[in-house]
Symmetry: C2
Subunit: 448 residues, 2 copies
């Protein structure tokens, strides 16, 4: 008789099954009549959709979170977001450690035991460290947000709003309880909400290890290659997004055209940050110019940084592809970034993640044009990219999707959240022992 | 005083300037009042558009070729197509020889002098060989097509139609003189037209060296790696296209839904072949399902094979990317195709061409949404991909584009035709002398 202890799961299987289990529990809870304000069950497919969207920190919704769910329902969603966002970030960071990525200084001190001894106590302490850091950041975020929400909505509702949106922002979840499907549009020119949400989104989407390194080292030159690429690509994408949205939307009266100069700057900044897979919006996404929509699709595909709460193929993956192109144009054989050479493994892995991500968006877009033929092409293309990147922005079709279309989106959110990491991990593990010729100093980075 | 002989041009500069000169001469000729049936000049922008489309063998048209142009105008267009298609194929094949690609057997015998001695006479003889081969194939094509066109249209018109469409098909130009913008739709179930045009498109788009090799060797195993990849990828793309179009359009009454079973098979085959950048169509492209349109965009982006009359990033470029992904998933460090290892150079070069091509389609799509905001997104997306791939298929917006939109498309066609080859050549030249570690047998191939 086979002992159950003999069934060994590798870490990626644990991750996938663990997330599936949390999603299922969430769906069962949200399916309860007490979760809905009208006292009737929402039905399993919609409960599953909402639970998947929350655990995968996507933010696509088939019902308006603020007005449809009871306090119980909203609490379940908030817990699912926190478990999903935090759990994924922790697991991804642990994976990076397992893979032996170079970890530096303070980070190294904290997790040395986990690294060297692979002991349970070390891993537990490391996880505690991430947990505490997350709660501190989310707590500060909620505190600052309360300066806007409490005067406007009173103590109890104001505090609830502050906590919900702080967690949702840091976890890059994009769920809001403002009501009416307007996301953060009422606060398009509110500096408190803007600056706080920007900071939370960027911190959540940049990865735990980068935050620790930057907090301890402060100098760009001393950072690990991984952190350098993350910071460079994040700044590059934010810069391109900001300038492009400002120019493309300048005269659009349905988005930023009627705002003051400062309002235009603020709204364009928000718009450039949110495709780093946050999913909040302060202008009506469906009213963007077509060029802005296309740009948003590209930015959503790229997404945030590895081992963070963000989705997409990841900034580092795109950075490796970008630098390979630049190095190739310069006529060098090896991909070179910031004075370091990347192994062929990393380049091929990045290419693989990029190609699979793009193929999946194309195929799911085609499926959606068949299951939901009534929508415009860009609407389903945008929705498919948003789901795979776990972004949560939408041109407004989510609640009108057919049952089959919802199932496609559920799969996309799940694969979009777990796919790049598990692919990268599986590829990294099997490549781990292959030896390359030693030429210039090499440095490992996380992609996907 | 500087001697004019001292100004040295590298081969890519000769190619780019040569094509620009031919386009300009063509535009001046088509701008003449005697080129237009109404006796008035078409205007320089439209003449330039038509000349660029012909020389770059694209097939996008702002006026209906069959009804707008006089016999003089049509003759000019046909000459531009022949010069463009043949000139490019010859130049690209010569480039491949200059780069020292492994050439085999008969091919080697023919061009040995050009290869080893780099003598003018060798190159001239080689060029003659391509010229003769082209005229034989086009002549046979015209002869077979005349069995349909002569009975239908009488001797003089029938022969003119046969020659024009044979050349247009072999050069993957996509221009037709059927009239009324219907392309080959009247012949959707005509076996003579179908089989002949299929053969001409595939032969033109597969590359001269592959034709020579296959004709001489006949056995797949003995072919060069380049030919193996070309044949494999061509079959793969044709297979995917055929099955997908058949399924996606089966019930579409506006395309193949009302055809007999045989007609459905024939139309789906044609539809799968034409994005190999031919640009003819036997069903109304604008009536395809959205999923089929998306698939066509992907196939147009990939395009035909290197050193042929076809456009796109090329089958070999896509093949290298595809096999790198497969090899990476299998856990091998080197990209392996058909028992051969590819150098990192080739992989990086393919990645570079793929990324630049995609970036260009995205940027030109965004520009077109600004210059021509009245169209649907998929219409301009499709047009941008068609122009860059020099395909010539359109959802019907070409003649309605604004002046700025036409300029965008003119640039796209020019870059789409010369870009991948010149990029690949420039990259290949500078990488040529870099040494890689010798591990498994390597074999060079042409990408772009
Ligand atoms: K999100
Ligand atoms: K064409």
């Amino acid at each position: 008789m086979k002992n159950i202890d003999n069934i060994k799961l590798d870490p990626t299987q644990v991750l996938v099954l663990g997330f599936a289990a949390v999603i299922l529990v969430g769906a069962l809870l949200l399916n309860l009549p007490i979760a809905s304000i009208d006292g009737k069950s929402i039905g399993f497919l919609n409960a599953l959709f909402t639970s998947t969207s929350a655990v995968c920190v996507t933010g696509l919704v088939v019902v308006d979170t603020g007005t449809y769910w009871t306090a119980f329902g909203k609490t379940v969603i908030l817990i699912l977001i926190q478990v999903g966002g935090l759990g994924f970030m922790t697991m991804a960071t642990l994976f990076a450690i397992i893979l032996g990525r170079k970890i530096s200084l303070k980070e190294r001190l904290v997790i040395q035991q986990a690294l060297n001894q692979n002991s349970l106590s070390g891993l537990v302490r490391f996880t505690q460290y991430i947990l505490i850091g997350t709660f501190i950041i989310e707590g500060i975020g909620a505190l600052i947000l309360s300066f806007t929400f409490v005067p406007e909505l009173g103590w109890s509702k104001g505090i609830a709003y502050s906590i919900f949106h702080s967690i949702s922002a840091f976890c890059n979840a994009g769920f809001d309880i403002i009501g009416g499907g307007v996301s953060l549009m009422p606060y398009v020119t509110d500096p408190v909400v803007n600056f706080t949400v920007w900071a939370l989104i960027i911190l959540g989407g940049i990865g735990f290890s980068v935050i620790v390194e930057v907090a301890n080292l402060r100098k760009f030159k001393k950072l690990s290659l991984h952190s350098k690429i993350v910071i460079f690509m994040t700044c590059l994408l934010l810069g391109i997004g900001f300038v492009s949205y400002l120019l493309l939307e300048w005269n659009n009266p349905n988005t930023i055209g009627d705002l003051s100069f400062g309002g235009k700057l603020m709204a364009s900044t928000f718009q450039s940050i949110t495709p780093r897979t946050a999913g909040f919006n302060t202008v009506d996404t469906s009213q963007l110019t077509t060029a802005s929509k296309m740009l948003t699709i590209v930015l959503m595909y790229i997404g945030g940084s590895p081992a963070s709460t963000a989705g997409g193929i990841k900034t580092v993956t795109m950075g490796v592809i970008l630098f390979t192109v630049i190095t190739e144009i310069k006529g060098r054989e090896d991909t070179e970034i910031f004075g370091r050479r990347l192994t062929r493994n990393i380049v091929n892995r990045s290419l693989t993640i990029g190609v699979i991500g793009m193929a999946y968006i194309i195929i799911s877009t085609m499926l959606l044009t068949i299951t939901d033929s009534g929508f415009e092409f860009i609407e389903v293309f945008f929705e498919a990219a948003s789901a795979l990147g776990t972004v949560g922005l939408s041109l407004g079709i989510t609640s009108e999707l057919s049952a089959l279309g919802r199932i496609v989106i559920i799969f996309s959110m799940f694969l979009g959240r777990l796919g790049p990491l598990t692919i990268a991990f599986a590829l990294a593990r099997q490549n781990r022992n292959s030896k390359g010729a030693i030429r210039y100093p090499e440095e490992k980075i996380i992609v996907g």
